[in-house]
C-alpha cells in the first residue's frame, strides 16, 4: 500500500487544485463571473473588476469573502455588484474591521460591544464627522510615531474613503433609477443644451430646460471627482489609455449630443442586477464585453486570465502543498521512511510547479521580471529556496531537502498572504524602478541570495532540532547536512554578492553613486559579509559542525533584517513597505532564532542524538 502513497497523495492534491479552477465549480452564476472579467483602468493599470473587488476587500477587511446580514455568503464579484449598483444593500454588509477599544467607543459601541469587530457602513455612518475630525488630528503625525488609536483611526478613515470612492464609481450619490435618469437625459438633451447656449449668449431661452441641464452637469462634475475607477473606455481613435470615470464620460454628453454607450451599458447592468433579472443581466454583460473586445482585445484577454489567476489562487494552493510536504517529511523519520519521503518530494514538486505557473502568469500580466515589490519577493524567495531543495533532495534522497522545502515554502507563502493585504500586488512601478533589465538581474539575483541564505539557516535549524529532540540524527546525516549547509552558504555568498554589486551598478547608472549606504544596501551588504564570515570561520577552523550550524541560523536573522527590518526604519530610497505588525513578527522570529542558537550550545550530553 505504502508504495503507491506518493502517487495517490500527489494526485489528490492536483485534483483539488484543478477543481478550484474548473468553471463549473464556482460559487457564483456564470454571468457574475463574466461581469468580474470586464477590464477597467484602476491604480494605473488595466485589471478585471474581479481584481478591484478582491484587492479592495483585502485592504478593508483582510479577507475576500463577505457575509450578508442574512448569513448568505457573497463572492467578491457579488459584493462589488452590490456596492456599485445596490449601495443601500452593500451598506449593510459588515466589512469594516475595528479592533481598537477607543475607536469602537468613538463609533458608539460601549464596553459590552467590545467583542464586535466588524461593522457595516450603516453602523459607522452616523459617526463619520467625528472619525474625520480625529483623522485630521492624527494624520500629520508620522506613521511610526502614531499611537494605536491614531493608527486605527487613520486606517478606518482610509478604508471608508476607499469604500465610498468605489461606491461612487458608477452611480451618482443617492440615485434611485440610474438607467431611467440617463434615458430622461437623452430626451431633454438637445433642447436643454440649446437653451443653455442661448442663455450664455444672452438670448431668449427656456429657463426651466436650461436649469435642468445645468443641474445634471453639476451632478456629473461631482461624480467625476468622487472616484478613481476609470471604467469607461475611450472612443475609437482616441488615446487607448485615456479611459474615464463615468462622471467624466457623462460630462462629454453635452458636447457629443448622446449619452456614452458604455455608461448606458453599466446603467443597464445595474438595473438588471437591482431588479434581480439574471437573464437581462447576462445579456447586457455579454453585449458589453463583445463590444469591448472589438477595440480592446488584449485588455479583455488579460482581464480574463487575471480573473482565472484570482480564482485559482496558485500560491494559496501551493502553501498547503508545502505544508503537506513538511508533515510527510517529518513522518518519514518516524514511519514508512521511503514512502513518506517520496510523498513529501512529490508534494514539494507539485507545489513548486503550481507556484512556477503562478509566477509566470504574474510576469505575463505585468510584462515584468518576477520580483517587483515586497509581496513578489516573498513568493520568489520561497520559489528559489524550494528549487534548491528539490536539487538537494534529488541528490541526497534523505528527506532533508523536502523538509526544508516544506518549511520555507509554507513560511514564505504565509508571509506573502499577509503582504497582499496592502492592496493590489500587481501595482505599477515608480519611475525610478522602471527598468526591466535591472529588475530582471539585480533584484532576481539578490533575491536568490536571500533565498539561499535562508535555506542554509533552515537546514541548520533542522540539524539542531533533529539532533536535540530526536535520535534520528546519526553521523552520516549530520555530515550530509553539514555539507549541504556549507555548499548552500557558498552558493549564497556568490548570489548575494553578485546581486548586491549589480544593485550598486544600477545605482551608479541611475543616481550617480555605486554605494550610498542606504539602509537596504547596507542590509544586503551585511548578508554578503555574514556569508563570507561563515566561510572564513570554517576555513580558519574556528567552527566545526555545530558552530557552522549556529552561524547559519544567525544568517536567518541577518537576512530577515535586510528583507523587512530595513524597511521599518522608514528612511532611504528603498523604503517601500513599512508595516506595523511586521515589526512584532520580526522580533518574535529573531528571538526564536536566538533561542535555537542557545539550545544548540547545550552540551552534547543533552542532545538526544549523538549519545553513545
Amino acid at each position: 500500500m505504502t508504495r503507491r502513497m506518493p502517487f495517490f497523495v500527489a494526485a489528490m492534491a492536483a485534483f483539488c487544485f484543478v477543481l478550484g479552477v474548473y468553471p463549473g465549480w464556482e460559487h457564483q452564476p456564470a454571468s457574475v463571473s463574466a461581469f468580474g472579467q470586464i477590464p477597467v483602468l484602476s491604480e494605473g493599470r488595466f485589471k478585471p473588476l474581479d481584481s478591484v473587488a478582491r484587492s479592495t476587500l483585502l485592504v478593508i477587511q483582510g479577507h475576500q469573502g463577505v457575509i450578508a446580514p442574512d448569513k448568505a455568503e457573497l463572492t467578491p464579484d457579488e459584493w462589488l455588484l452590490d456596492v456599485l449598483f445596490n449601495p443601500q444593500k452593500a451598506d449593510t454588509y459588515a466589512i469594516f474591521y475595528i479592533d481598537n477599544p477607543d475607536l469602537l467607543s468613538l463609533v458608539g459601541k460601549s464596553e459590552t460591544h467590545l467583542t464586535i469587530e466588524r461593522l457595516s457602513f450603516n453602523e459607522i455612518a452616523p459617526h463619520i464627522a467625528e472619525i474625520e475630525a480625529q483623522e485630521k488630528l492624527a494624520e500629520p503625525v508620522s506613521a511610526q510615531a502614531r499611537t494605536r488609536f491614531q493608527s486605527s483611526v487613520v486606517q478606518l478613515y482610509g478604508n471608508l474613503s476607499h469604500y465610498l470612492r468605489l461606491r461612487r464609481a458608477i452611480l451618482p450619490e443617492g440615485s434611485k433609477d440610474f438607467l431611467g435618469e440617463l434615458l430622461h437625459l437623452q430626451e431633454i438633451l438637445v433642447d436643454g443644451v440649446e437653451a443653455v447656449r442661448a442663455k450664455e449668449a444672452g438670448q431668449p431661452h427656456d429657463e426651466a430646460k436650461a436649469a435642468a441641464i445645468m443641474a445634471e452637469g453639476q451632478k456629473f462634475v461631482g461624480m467625476s471627482e468622487g472616484t478613481d475607477l476609470l471604467a469607461i473606455p475611450p472612443d475609437e481613435g482616441d488615446d487607448p489609455n485615456a479611459w474615464h470615470n463615468t462622471g467624466h464620460a457623462l460630462l462629454e454628453t453635452f458636447g457629443k449630443g448622446e449619452v456614452n454607450p458604455a455608461v448606458l451599458a453599466y446603467a443597464g447592468m445595474g438595473y438588471a442586477w437591482r431588479g434581480n433579472e439574471p437573464a437581462k443581466f447576462d445579456h447586457i454583460v455579454g453585449l458589453y464585453r463583445t463590444a469591448l473586445e472589438k477595440h480592446f482585445p488584449r485588455q479583455v484577454q488579460k482581464a480574463r486570465v487575471e480573473t482565472l489567476f484570482n480564482t485559482a489562487q496558485p500560491f494559496y494552493a501551493g502553501m498547503w502543498m508545502y505544508l503537506g510536504a513538511f508533515l510527510f517529511a517529518a513522518l518519514s523519520w518516524i514511519k514508512w521512511p521511503e514512502a513518506s519521503r517520496r510523498t513529501a518530494f512529490a508534494l514539494v514538486a507539485l507545489g513548486w510547479v503550481i507556484a512556477t505557473l503562478g509566477i509566470a502568469t504574474r510576469m505575463w500580466l505585468e510584462g515584468r521580471p518576477p520580483v517587483t515589490n515586497l509581496y513578489s519577493s516573498a513568493i520568489f524567495i520561497g520559489w528559489g529556496s524550494v528549487a534548491l531543495c528539490l536539487v538537494l533532495e534529488a541528490v541526497y534522497r534523505d528527506g532533508i531537502g523536502a523538509e526544508a522545502a516544506g518549511l520555507i515554502g509554507f513560511a514564505t507563502l504565509i508571509i506573502a498572504q499577509h503582504l497582499a493585504l496592502a492592496g493590489d500586488t500587481l501595482e505599477m512601478m515608480r519611475a525610478v524602478l522602471d527598468s526591466n533589465f535591472w529588475l530582471g538581474t539585480h533584484v532576481v539575483v539578490v533575491t536568490i541570495g536571500y533565498a539561499s541564505t535562508f535555506l542554509a539557516g533552515v537546514l541548520a535549524v533542522i540539524y539542531i532540532l533533529r539532533g536535540l529532540f530526536t535520535t534520528t540524527l546519526d553521523k552520516a546525516s549530520a555530515e550530509a547536512l553539514s555539507r549541504m549547509v556549507y555548499g548552500i552558504v557558498c552558493f549564497a555568498t556568490l548570489f548575494s554578492f553578485v546581486g548586491t554589486t549589480l544593485g550598486g551598478i544600477w545605482a551608479d547608472q541611475s543616481w550617480g553613486r555605486f554605494w550610498g549606504w542606504d539602509p537596504k544596501e547596507n542590509g544586503a551588504l551585511i548578508i554578503v559579509i555574514w556569508n563570507a564570515l561563515i566561510l572564513h570561520a570554517r576555513w580558519a577552523g574556528m567552527v566545526r559542525q555545530r558552530g557552522l550550524m549556529c552561524l547559519a541560523v544567525f544568517g536567518n536573522i541577518v537576512t530577515s533584517w535586510s528583507w523587512f527590518g530595513t524597511n521599518m526604519l522608514g528612511i532611504g530610497l528603498h523604503a517601500y513597505g513599512f508595516t506595523d505588525a511586521a515589526f512584532w513578527w520580526l522580533s518574535a522570529f529573531v528571538a526564536s532564532q536566538l533561542a535555537i542558537i542557545a539550545a544548540a550550545n547545550l552540551p552534547l550530553g543533552r542532545w538526544r542524538s549523538f549519545r553513545t
Binding site: G44, R45, C490, S510, R513, P519, N522, I529, A537, V558
Partner: protein, 381 residues
C-alpha cells in the same frame, strides 16, 4: 626571524583576524544603519565610514567607542594582502579565490578613492534656459560680484565654512574686507512686521533691516535642507560700509556702489563652472493614468561645447545618464512642469567597481565550479 616578529606576522596573516574584522564591519554597518534615523545618511557616512574612530557623545564629552570604516577597511586590506603573500602557492585549486580577492582589493581601494574625491552637485534648468554651472546640494557660498560691466561678472566666492568660523576675508580683487559677524547654519526669515518681538537686526543696510532671522536646529532629514544665514560687515579703507544680512532665502542679490563700481552681494548654493553649457530644450513627465505615481521623466538637453564646436542633442532619463566632460548627469527629479533637476557627479574612479565586481564574480564562479566538480567526482567515486 625572532619570535615577536613572527607573532606580529601571525596576527596579520591569520584568518581569525579576517573573521574578527568581518564581524566588526557588520556591527559598524548595522549601527550606522540604525543611526541614520537620527543623523541622516550624510552625517552617518562621515561619522562611521569616512573615519578612523567612531565617537559617541556622552553629555559634552566625545568618547571613542568603535573603530571606524577606515580602520576596519584598512586592516582588512592589510590582512588580505599579507595573507595572500604569506600563503602564496601556485596551483589551480585556489585560482577563484585569488581572482575574487584581487577584485575585492580593487573594490575597497576604488570606494576609498571615490569616498575621498567624489563630488556631487545639482543642476536646475528651466525649459529654454542655458546654464554653465552646477550647484551644490548642501554647501553654500557668499558671492561678491563686481557687476560694473553689464556683459561680464567678476566673482569672488567665499565658502560658507569661512563665514562659520568668522574668518575675515581680504581679497586683492575686493576694495573692502568681508567681516563675518554672525552665522546660523539653519534659519528662517520673516518680514519684521510679522514678528513684533524680534530683537533689533544686526544689519544696517539692505534687505536685512526689513526682516527678522530665526535660528533653527540643524536638520539631518533627507527631504529637508539647512538654509544658513549670516551677517557680514564690509569694511573699506576708510571704515565700515555697513552690515548686510545674506542668506539663500533672500533670493535676489543686494546691490550697492562703492569705489566707483557696482557690487552685488548674494549667498547662494556653491557653484562649480564648466567650460561648456547645457540648454534644456524640453522636459517631459508622465504619470500612470488615474493616479499620481510618476511613470517616467526625461530631459532633452542641448550640449554647447566651448570653442565653437557644433552643439548636439541628448536625452537624459531615468537609468540613462549623460557622461560628458568628466561629469555624469542624471535625471534626478523635477520642479513643476517645465523645470528639470539633474544630479551632477564627478567621480574619476567610477569604473573601479565595474571591474572589481566582474573580477569577484568571476572568481566566485570559478571557485564554486571547482568545488562542484570535486563534489560530483567524490559522489561518483
Amino acid at each position: 626571524m625572532n619570535d615577536s616578529l613572527k607573532l606580529v606576522r601571525g596576527f596579520f596573516v591569520s584568518l581569525r583576524l579576517t573573521v574578527f574584522l568581518l564581524a566588526l564591519s557588520i556591527i559598524l554597518i548595522f549601527w550606522a544603519t540604525l543611526d541614520q534615523v537620527n543623523l541622516g545618511v550624510w552625517a552617518v557616512q562621515h561619522k562611521f565610514f569616512h573615519s578612523f574612530i567612531v565617537f559617541a557623545r556622552f553629555g559634552s564629552l566625545q568618547v571613542p567607542v568603535f573603530p571606524g570604516g577606515y580602520t576596519i577597511g584598512g586592516l582588512l586590506l592589510v590582512n588580505l594582502l599579507s595573507g595572500h603573500i604569506y600563503r602564496f602557492k601556485m596551483g589551480w585549486n585556489k585560482a577563484g579565490i585569488w581572482i575574487a580577492h584581487a577584485g575585492l582589493i580593487l573594490l575597497l581601494v576604488g570606494e576609498l578613492i571615490s569616498g575621498l574625491v567624489q563630488k556631487d552637485y545639482q543642476m536646475r534648468i528651466e525649459e529654454g534656459e542655458t546654464k554653465n554651472y552646477a550647484e551644490s546640494g548642501r554647501q553654500n557660498e557668499l558671492a561678491v560680484i563686481d557687476a560694473t560691466d553689464a556683459n561680464f561678472d567678476e566673482v569672488v566666492a567665499i565658502p560658507e565654512s569661512l563665514l562659520a568660523h568668522g574668518t575675515v576675508v581680504q581679497n586683492p580683487k575686493l576694495p573692502f574686507r568681508v567681516v563675518p559677524k554672525e552665522y546660523n547654519p539653519n534659519s528662517s526669515i520673516q518680514m519684521r512686521s510679522q514678528v513684533p518681538n524680534a530683537p533689533p537686526s544686526l544689519a544696517t543696510v539692505g534687505m536685512g533691516t526689513m526682516v527678522a532671522v530665526t535660528p533653527l536646529d540643524v536638520t539631518y532629514k533627507e527631504d529637508e535642507r539647512n538654509v544658513p544665514s549670516a551677517f557680514v560687515e564690509l569694511v573699506g579703507p576708510d571704515g565700515s560700509l555697513g552690515t548686510w544680512l545674506v542668506s539663500p532665502l533672500l533670493g535676489n542679490p543686494q546691490k550697492f556702489d562703492f569705489a566707483g563700481k557696482t557690487w552685488k552681494l548674494v549667498m547662494r548654493p556653491k557653484r562649480t563652472y564648466q567650460p561648456y553649457s547645457l540648454t534644456l530644450e524640453k522636459f517631459s513627465h508622465d504619470i500612470y493614468p488615474g493616479t499620481d505615481i510618476p511613470k517616467n521623466f526625461s530631459s532633452r538637453i542641448k550640449i554647447n561645447p566651448p570653442g565653437g564646436e557644433p552643439s548636439r542633442d541628448v536625452l537624459i532619463y531615468m537609468n540613462n545618464p549623460l557622461r560628458y566632460g568628466g561629469l555624469t548627469y542624471y535625471q534626478q527629479g523635477y520642479d513643476g512642469e517645465h523645470t528639470t533637476i539633474l544630479e551632477v557627479v564627478r567621480n574619476p574612479s567610477w569604473l573601479a567597481p565595474y571591474f572589481a565586481c566582474a573580477a569577484i564574480t568571476l572568481g566566485l564562479v570559478v571557485q564554486f565550479l571547482i568545488h562542484l566538480v570535486g563534489f560530483a567526482r567524490r559522489r561518483r567515486a
